[in-house]
Amino acid sequence: MSSITLDHHADRSKMAVSDEVAIEIRNMNKWYGSFHVLRDIDLTVYQGERIVIAGPSGSGKSTLIRCINRLEEHQEGQIIVDGTELTSDLKNVDKVRSEVGMVFQHFNLFPHLTILENCTLAPIWVRKEPKKEAEERAMHFLEKVKIPEQAHKYPGMLSGGQQQRVAIARSLCMMPRIMLFDEPTSALDPEMIKEVLETMVELAEEGMTMLCVTHEMGFAKEVANRVIFMDAGQIVEQNEPEEFFNNPQSERTKLFLSQIL
């Protein structure tokens, strides 16, 4: 499925996984009405891990990462992010959200604000930073995603790939300890997929904890330290990428890999 090859090869030596737990999910279940979307999910993510979550559509992979910053509510079990348990207590939810960045399939930039305002809004109002400081850091991250010259344009004037890189920069401006990516390249043309993936590789090299729902298996091989395969709302198989791709264990995984590779 994915024919994107990355020019920039990730330097795995810089990606260290610590034994500090970043996200702990225990026995988590979720229903949409009477439909059981996530079943008995157990997952421990350590600081510095780069996890790629793959699976057929409707397998619950997006729902899983959306539960981690409570864009979706779970009904059973526990989700603990950086020591804070997600409950209906809004204070906890806001605390987790300000530490977890999220990048969406359709970018979800704010079209009525300039690129710079998109990046500084949350730091100024949520983190209560002075405007000048927030702008300086926004420019720093916009340079990192290689579009500082677009800072005063509006999102509607940018290409899809540029918009997605702004979305990444916007999340980074909140100085998150964990980044969630929900199919960040699914809505992009091949040329643009590459520029977004390269930004993500650089982020991984800096030691960011990342959970990424994607169909880009090239990215998984290059960057991930763990690949999780989900089907019908459950984790079917997880392994190091090399083992996962070369030596899949379950029949479901084999079938899935034979269809996409």
Partner: protein
Amino acid sequence: MTDLSFVRSDMLPERAPPANEVGMVKWLRTNLFSTWANSLLTIAAFYVIYLVLANVLPWFSGGVWTTSSLSECREVLQGEVGGCFSVLTERWNQLIYGFKYPVDLYWRPNIALLLLAFAAAPVLFFDLPRKLLLFTAIYPFVAYWLIWGGPIGVPVTAFVGILGAYLVFERFNAANFAAAGLAAVAVAFSLWFIGGYLVDMLASDDPLLTPVASRDLGGFMLNLMLGVTCVSLSIPLGIALALGRQSNLPLIKGVCVIFIEFIRGVPLITLLFVASVMLAYFFPPDATVDLFLRVVIMITLFSSAYIAEVIRGGLAALPKGQYEAADSLGLDYPQAMRFIILPQALKISIPGIVNVAVGLFKDTTLVSVISMFDLVGMIRGPILASQEWNGVYWELLGFAALLFFVVCYGISQYSQWLERRLRTDHR
């Protein structure tokens, strides 16, 4: 089999379009004379326009402006075509200010109108310095004092109450939104209560500005006052109702839905009758709530229900991703609404809101039915009923139409400018 391969050796340069495809000739051809049938229609249309102008223009140019009654007009005209515009000049003050507002006090509403321009400017044109909003904040109290006169303590007390409420709310908002709101309301009412006593105690028999009663207001001034007050009150109320209707809390949602559906299901004229006659039953016997205030309340409630539905449309048009992006960045509900959701939803709702605002402004003429002498009330009542001007319909109603048209067209042009100004994508 033909050879299908083709390689372009040099790229084509840009060329100017053919001469008969540009300019005036091209425009006339495509728009007025594109086919035989269209050419005939064009000529017919020009003939109709000529007929209308040939009859209307002499009516204007032959018009009489200086007589003091309709019969004098007829004498001057001697059967010639011409409008009797003298009614406008002779009754100008009545048309604009009503027939009871003291003539020597006309300068007060005039200044209030002039200041309105300064107060409205920073709201309408948000590129102006934000500090000008301070004047906008005190303007309602200044305008009240200018138009109604009376002891200055009344508007000052009203202002101090609201200022106190605002300061208390700002102070405690960070800690708890609801508690801050309740505290603000409590502070406002206690300040008003204390202020009421002070005003009564300090009131002199001879205040700086002579008091004018609400029933003495009239003419186009009354329409403008009702229009400006009700539009500026009903937009925030409409926003609150629209957000309330989306609330997860069943009580708030229920109240908003019932309110909106009830108000939309009742004709405005019914509400105005309620305001003028029946509302008194709901107040304590000795309480006298001003008729102007009662009418303002009713028109505001009425149009806020419509504005709420327009804004709900704007809210529904926003992609769910905007809410999710705001949530994922850790913005709380008031922040998400203020910075992300409402600016976009209101932008989408501009045409609908302006539609309601224009309708509201014209509906202020309905107060003539409950014997308030607004512009239409003045024309139908004192002017047409007078001996001198009985029968001058075209000139008076045409003038009323012109005044309303100028204001409504201005609102419409402003909204189109606003839409262009807020456009951030390249379409």
